[in-house]
């Protein structure tokens, strides 16, 4: 993989909007052409070169292109938007809309990432070592189609409404999630290794959510279906036992919500509604 590095060279006061900082807009361009790519700093048009020191050499095939962004770019929005290949590595904290509408390729963030990570994602892979904001893999406001494919892996915690209006793909949170994971979810898989604050799978109509840690309460419109020995994410199998709830009844949904049995004693009441002996 040939690498082009972008090292942030100034403290950003206002947000930067750089949807063209992605492999598709950089492949086949010379370093000077890359430096002259237009981006927005607040309401001013500037060039990439004005806030990044750009090094490396021209790469003509997108599969070989690896973009490395060094420094705190938490105020730089839409990195990797619409990318269809190649790799982006961010050493530091990333901004909002990272990998927005991404088709393919991969993004790795060593620090935290902002909200709307991988929103409306179609394919590819995003990995965040730290935490993320809200609306991971979600849809745009008013649209009823979120992430359709691809894979998002977050090692830290995630915010609210991850996988909102999700239609496919997989989101794995190794930490905890706040409220409403899988909100209005239609399909796809969400795995939360630790705890969920509340309201998992609210108004979901399909798809699968697995909560490995603790959740204080299940929404009243969900119904217990059975206790399963294990649950599957794509090919990987996780040993249970899990309570399996089906919902959201309010949307006549067939979403499947797996909640680990141990540690969730508050949910024991649902076992009375199971006809099979436990």
């Amino acid at each position: 993989m040939a690498e082009i590095t972008f090292k942030i060279n100034k403290i950003l006061r206002v947000p930067v909007d750089s949807p063209d900082l992605n492999p598709d807009s950089i492949v086949g361009k010379s370093l000077d052409e890359i430096r002259n790519i237009e981006i927005w700093e607040g309401n001013r048009k500037i060039n990439l070169g004005e806030i990044f020191d750009v090094n490396g050499e021209q790469v003509d095939k997108i599969e070989d292109l690896s973009i490395r962004v060094i420094g705190d770019v938490s105020k730089v929005k839409r990195i990797g938007q619409n990318m269809s290949g190649g790799n982006i590595q961010i050493d530091g904290n990333a901004g909002m809309y990272l990998g927005n509408k991404m088709k393919d390729g991969s993004i790795i963030v060593s620090g935290d990432a902002g909200s709307w990570l991988g929103a409306s994602m179609l394919g590819g892979r995003i990995e965040v070592k730290g935490n993320t904001g809200d609306f991971v893999g979600a849809s745009y406001r008013g649209k009823s189609e979120g992430m359709k494919g691809g894979m998002i892996l977050i090692h830290g915690d995630a915010g609210n409404e991850i996988g909102c209006w999700m239609k496919g793909g997989t989101i794995q949170i190794m930490g905890s999630s706040e409220t409403y994971p899988g909100m209005h979810m239609k399909n796809g898989t969400i795995y939360i290794d630790k705890n969920c604050l509340c309201r998992a799978g609210a108004q979901m109509s399909g798809g699968k959510i697995i909560i490995n840690g603790k959740i204080p309460e299940i929404l009243p419109s969900f119904a217990i279906e059975s206790i399963r020995g294990s649950a599957r994410i794509d090919k990987e199998k996780i040993q249970g036992p899990f309570y399996l709830f089906v919902g959201d009844g309010n949307e006549d949904g067939e979403g499947r919500l797996y909640v680990r049995k141990e540690g969730n004693d508050d949910l024991k009441y649902c076992e009375d509604y199971l006809d099979m002996e436990v």
Binding site: W40, G42, Y97, R199, P220, S221, D248
Partner: protein, 433 residues
Amino acid sequence: MSSKIFQDIICTVCGCCCDNLEIEIKDGNISRAKNACAMSLGKLMNFNKERNEFPMVRNGDKLSKASLSEAIDKAANILADSKYPILYGWSLTSCEAIELGVELADCIGGVMDNTTGTCHGPGIIGIQDVGESTCTLGEVKHRADLIIYWGANPVHAHPNHMMRYSALSKGRFRATRKDRNVITVDVRMTDTAKISDSFIQIEPNKDYELLSAITATVKDLELEQDKVAGVPLEEIENLADIMVNCEFGIIFFGLGITMSLGKSRNIDMALSLVRELNKRTKFLIMPMRGHFNVTGANQVTAWQTGYPFAVDLSKGFPLYNPGDTSAVDILMRDECDAALVVASDPISNFPNQAARNLAKIPLITIDPHVTLTTLCSEVVIPSAHVGIETEGSIYRMDGVVLEARKFIEPPNGIVSDVEILQNLLNRVKKISK
């Protein structure tokens, strides 16, 4: 000095926009105001108190007197130089001023946001996912036999609401109070609950769960919990029955569910419940908008830019995403480098850290009163009170448009928001040519 009486004056305090005030003017002051509630009287009898008498510009650490053109010149330069300015407030001024505000934001490339973000913004986000079934207040007055106040306390926040538009009003098909069933759902027994027919006490931050349970019951699903949000199951079933069997029901929701845990999704669920109920009977929902023209701020911003609030015009086209382009979030991420606040006092209502970030950047405030925001500002320009000293179009909470009228001359040297903003816009256009 002779006294003069003005009829059918429109009140410019809360979202009710009562339009039957009768004002008596004596020696240039309001001596009596018939049909005005306590909050309205608070404004009508004291609008002259604690006013900014003249424009002020800060040099060093003190705000000192300046001429109108000096203040506008300084403000214009701040805005023209700014790389990411916020234009905030707008809910306590006229639509004509808001139209100029959007044009100014479009011209300088700033973020146009109004107080909806910290009021019923979550409600609008919910509507954008589910839609809403609503009406004008007269439909409630004429037809409603079931009125539910959810997380709203009109006795305190909209004192004339029940008398003019809902529970205590006389409608064509609902002549007396007995024809109406009034239910209040809140975390505490509010004064509104005390005059309702029944009160449902809900645990704080559990609105979504209760709404979800009621919707499930309306859909005849079997609930597996005997208590939801602290409300026993048969009380939920009873409420669901009342809702399904009414002829015309309405939910008025307040900040109780937009400001607590779940925010926009609480309203998303409430809208879904109402949509579900429309399969069985006639059911509507309406937000209790707080300020007299916050609805107008949404409408004007929406017809000019396509979006009701939190509109980022810095890239030459409108961008909307509350959470990214909304005032509190931008301030918490410390992303803006200048601000214009019109007819609002964010420094005394925003979370403290957001207020600090707002106070540390060049801040221009246009407001009749001395407020915490004006005291922290770089430039202060006093403006006339809409609906008292200047006229203007305002939108009631249900979207009905009224034209607030002028019946007292403003103090000399004090001009309207519209005139100030027009000057400011012209000056900015000259600078950025």
